[in-house]
């Protein structure tokens, strides 16, 4: 086998399992709410806060709940991150920037083009200017927003993954959560730990599941909501280091160690002078089946630029997450439907050229809250949410850069030239939409990895540093095709940064408990489904 088209081995989204008639058997508790928000990330929590504030100002009682699959707030949240504070200011206008959970303003920044042994300083592209922005940990942002939401009376349920969409006709009625306390074979664990799924039903459900949201995908497919281009993704692998050398600037790099037919780059951000977040992001439309983002990050750390910074330091956390990169043309045609809205990364509100998504996520949550509030109040349509987003800076920003990421489908150099032209023309060049294939449709060439990298940390150690202590005996939550060829198994083993997949003599081995919910193989191979609440990573300052 010398070529792989991943889509050929990818099981279909199990829609028949994901869409469930409300009232179906099998649930334990049933809870009725006014608004149910799925996912306690920046989008979901901003939505909850704005809704609670609107209700309070209006003197109405709203029963709002946020479901989160992580055991505690923020533990499944990962981002760079440099944050544009704009949506924070709109959500909480009484607070100053210094009240927000940021680590510090960006004062200096540098962009480099790397070669194996040296670096070339590039002028910072206009889209990447970060003056007025702040370095932050998304985990900390989420915990802070969660506390604000709770103060306003929002119910936060952590440790409850939404597994199925409850529907009535074409309307979304709520969600059913994943069961907990089951053994590998699906029977309750000894000692009576088993817990049946719960049904949460609401007048409006907001899907804010984050990147590659399962129920958002299911809803779009079920309701046949198209997008101009399929959504495309990147995988980011990130480490947090305590360093002995201080860092005073935000750094981005392009080039090495990525091959020229892959799109991506690195980031190095100081949370504190001696607490540094660094990571590598690679578009999942890369062509070499042996490319491995985790391994590339380990190589990247050997570059003189980074090696000097990390010398004598200690890696204290590790994590991985995908990023929806398709931009404007990959947004679902509508992000609202019958009793449902899609927010944040689940809808695809990310601007790759500026490397930003958090403030768009929050802004979408704010707009959704306003539309939901009116809908509950006077029955006005939820399409108001789409109207608000389309008329806002969110849509305008994504439209301006609509083709920039897409141009890189042609490789780093051609892409770079086209992106530069787009910047110069304010997005008008080339005056047409770039057509994209879904990542899984992109053909990969089979190759052998160029030498084993011994430096850096192994995937097993990485998973340990993600805080992942998933019970080893939970039922597998990953759906892979039967009998995948060994080249494909090897491909999966490179795609997954957490060592979930291994190519063995007897075929594909799946170490399901290792999974850190990054969703990379959900994009390119085996499907991800939710598992027992509280499973997966326990990020602290990612």
């Amino acid at each position: 086998m010398d070529k792989i088209v991943p889509a050929q081995y990818q099981p279909a989204l199990p829609l028949e399992k994901l869409i469930l008639q409300d009232g179906s058997d099998g649930a334990g508790d049933r809870m009725e709410l006014d608004v149910l928000i799925v996912g306690a990330g920046p989008a979901g929590l901003a939505c909850a806060i704005e809704l609670a504030k609107l209700a309070k100002a209006d003197g109405t009682e709203l029963n709002i709940a946020v479901l989160e699959k992580a055991e505690a707030l923020g533990e499944h949240s990962l981002s760079g991150a440099v944050v544009n504070p704009r949506a924070f200011r709109e959500l909480l206008p009484d607070l100053k920037d210094s009240d927000f959970p940021f680590r510090g303003p960006v004062t200096k920044e540098a962009v480099y083009l790397l070669t194996p042994g040296s670096k070339l300083r590039l002028p910072t592209p206009p889209t990447m200017h970060n003056r007025g922005h702040y370095v932050a940990s998304l985990c900390e942002i989420v915990r802070w927003l969660g506390a604000k939401a709770e103060e306003l009376g929002v119910n936060l349920f952590t440790g409850f993954p939404a597994a199925q969409l409850l529907v009535r006709d074409s309307a979304v009625a709520g969600v059913r959560t994943a069961a907990a306390g089951l053994d590998r074979d699906g029977t309750p664990t000894a000692g009576g730990g088993g817990q049946a799924p719960n049904d949460l039903v609401a007048k409006v459900t907001a899907l804010a599941e984050g990147t590659r949201g399962l129920l958002a995908q299911a809803w779009c497919q079920w309701q046949r909501v198209p997008s101009a281009n399929p959504q495309i993704f990147a995988l980011g692998v990130k480490e947090l280091w305590e360093t002995t050398q201080p860092l005073d600037r935000v750094i981005h790099t392009l080039g090495w160690p990525l091959p020229s037919d892959a799109f991506g780059g690195s980031f190095v951000y100081p949370l504190e002078p001696n607490l540094v977040a660094l990571g590598l992001v690679v578009g999942l439309d890369y062509r070499d089946a042996a490319l491995d983002v985790h391994v590339l990050l380990q190589q990247f750390k050997q570059h003189p630029l980074v090696r000097a910074l990390l010398a004598g330091g200690e890696m204290i956390e590790w994590g991985a997450k995908t990023i929806p990169e398709g931009g404007f043309y990959s947004l679902p045609e509508r992000r609202s439907g019958d009793r449902v809205v899609l927010l944040g990364d689940a809808a695809g509100f990310v601007d790759v050229p500026s490397l930003k998504g958090i403030h768009y996520a929050m802004q979408s949550g704010i707009y959704a809250a306003r539309a939901i509030f009116h809908n509950l109040k006077d029955g006005s349509a939820l399409t108001e949410y789409d109207r608000l987003v389309n008329a806002s800076y969110v849509a305008a920003d994504l439209y301006r850069t609509r083709n920039m990421r897409l141009a890189f489908r042609d490789g780093f150099y051609l892409g770079g030239i086209q992106a530069a032209l787009m910047t110069l023309t304010g997005g008008r060049f080339p005056g047409r939409k770039y057509r994209m294939h879904a990542d899984a449709e992109v053909e990969r060439r089979v190759s052998t990895p160029s030498g084993v990298v011994k430096s850096g940390i192994s995937k097993v150690d990485a998973v340990f540093k993600s805080g992942n202590a998933t019970r080893d005996t939970i039922p597998s939550h990953l759906i892979a095709a039967q009998d995948v060829p060994s080249d494909v198994a090897r491909f999966y083993s490179h795609v997954c940064p957490a060592g979930v997949y291994e190519a063995t003599d007897s075929g594909l081995r799946i170490n399901a408990p290792n999974c850190v919910d990054c969703k990379a193989t959900d994009v390119l191979g085996p499907r991800w489904t939710p598992r027992e609440g509280g499973s997966g990573p326990k990020y602290k300052r990612m």
């Binding site: 192994s458 150690d461 340990f464 202590a469 080893d472």
Partner: protein, 319 residues
């Protein structure tokens, strides 16, 4: 300044921790008075002079046939009040952990528990105790009068410092107490838990297939029932061994006196589960395996040759 060393007996025989307690007490300088609660003479008590006990006191009462928490506590607290000891040393065994705070409370103080080190410091003590699962050591100044402490077992290696110890037997008049031990059930045979075992032999993927664990089971048997067989997460995930045997991450954290890692490469999550073992031996064919970084003793090579040879040697030792 006299230190009171509280011994432990079961069925009239002194337990090993007693030597450790006397050894540690003796380190504080001054006289050491060893005390044990029993129904009559305790086998092994006469040997304590060898470890530095100046005096061995046997407190007798019919209630002491089995561990009698309240009766022992009362007897010891009364003895302590009369004796004016500066320090009272217990072993942090299941019994010692139960008894020490009872005695301490009756003396109006708390216990410095589970010590790995202690030293006299002016009028008081400075002690060290592992906290946060052994991830840090807490150094504490103890000003309590008397200072009541308990020692982590297997840390204070008994040292022989012979003294011409005297012996005394005192029948004490104490109530049997409200809490009484009805019986001691033997732990279910053949199921030595990895969390309890003093010796653990763990296997990883280097074993190649589940059936090969019999090599490790034979080695465990050679230790005469003191050893348990553990496993790395990789082989547990593969279904070769039960999850109860897993060491590390979501498995168990262990700290036996001897940990033998066979065919285990040493992922951080495994190391985190066993790095507080007293002595670590690694047997692995890859000399660069991370396990060798934490191992005290490493043997590089084919485990299927090395382990049987080791089994043979251990069998010789245990006759």
């Amino acid at each position: 300044m006299t230190t009171l060393a509280v011994l432990e007996q079961r069925d009239g025989t002194l337990r090993k921790i007693s030597h450790e307690v006397v050894t540690a007490a003796q380190r504080l300088g001054g006289a050491v008075e060893a005390v044990v609660c029993a129904t009559g003479p305790v086998q092994g008590a006469d040997q304590l002079g060898k470890f530095g006990a100046d005096k061995v006191v046997t407190l007798t009462n019919p209630a002491f046939a089995r561990y009698a928490p309240e009766a022992c506590a009362q007897a010891l607290a009364e003895r302590a009040k009369q004796g004016g000891y500066r320090t009272i040393v217990f072993g942090a065994t299941a019994t010692g952990k139960d008894l020490a705070p009872r005695v301490a409370a009756q003396l109006g103080v708390g216990v410095a528990e589970d010590l790995t080190d202690l030293a006299a410091d002016g009028g008081g003590l400075v002690v060290t105790r592992p906290v946060y699962a052994g991830k840090a050591l807490l150094k504490v100044k103890v000003a309590a009068q008397p200072a009541v402490v308990s020692l982590r077992p297997n840390v204070f290696t008994p040292v022989e410092r012979p003294k011409a110890g005297t012996a005394e037997t005192v029948a004490v008049n104490v109530a049997a107490g409200r809490v009484t031990v009805r019986e001691i059930k033997a732990a279910p045979a053949g199921t030595l838990d990895v969390a309890e075992a003093q010796i653990i032999i763990s296997g990883g993927r280097g074993l190649k297939e589940p059936a090969n664990f019999k090599v490790l089971e034979e080695l465990a048997r050679a230790f005469g029932g003191q050893a348990a067989v553990g496993a790395s997460r990789a082989v547990v995930d593969a279904g070769w061994r039960a999850h109860a045997d897993q060491v590390g991450q979501t498995g168990k954290t262990v700290s036996p006196s001897l940990y033998i890692a066979v065919g285990i490469s040493g992922a951080i999550q495994h190391l985190a589960g066993m790095r507080t073992s007293k002595v670590i031996v690694a047997i692995n064919k890859d000399k660069d395996a991370p396990i060798f970084k934490v191992a005290d003793y490493g043997v590089v090579g084919d485990l299927f040759e090395i382990v049987p040879k080791l089994t043979e040697e251990i069998r010789k030792l245990h006759g």
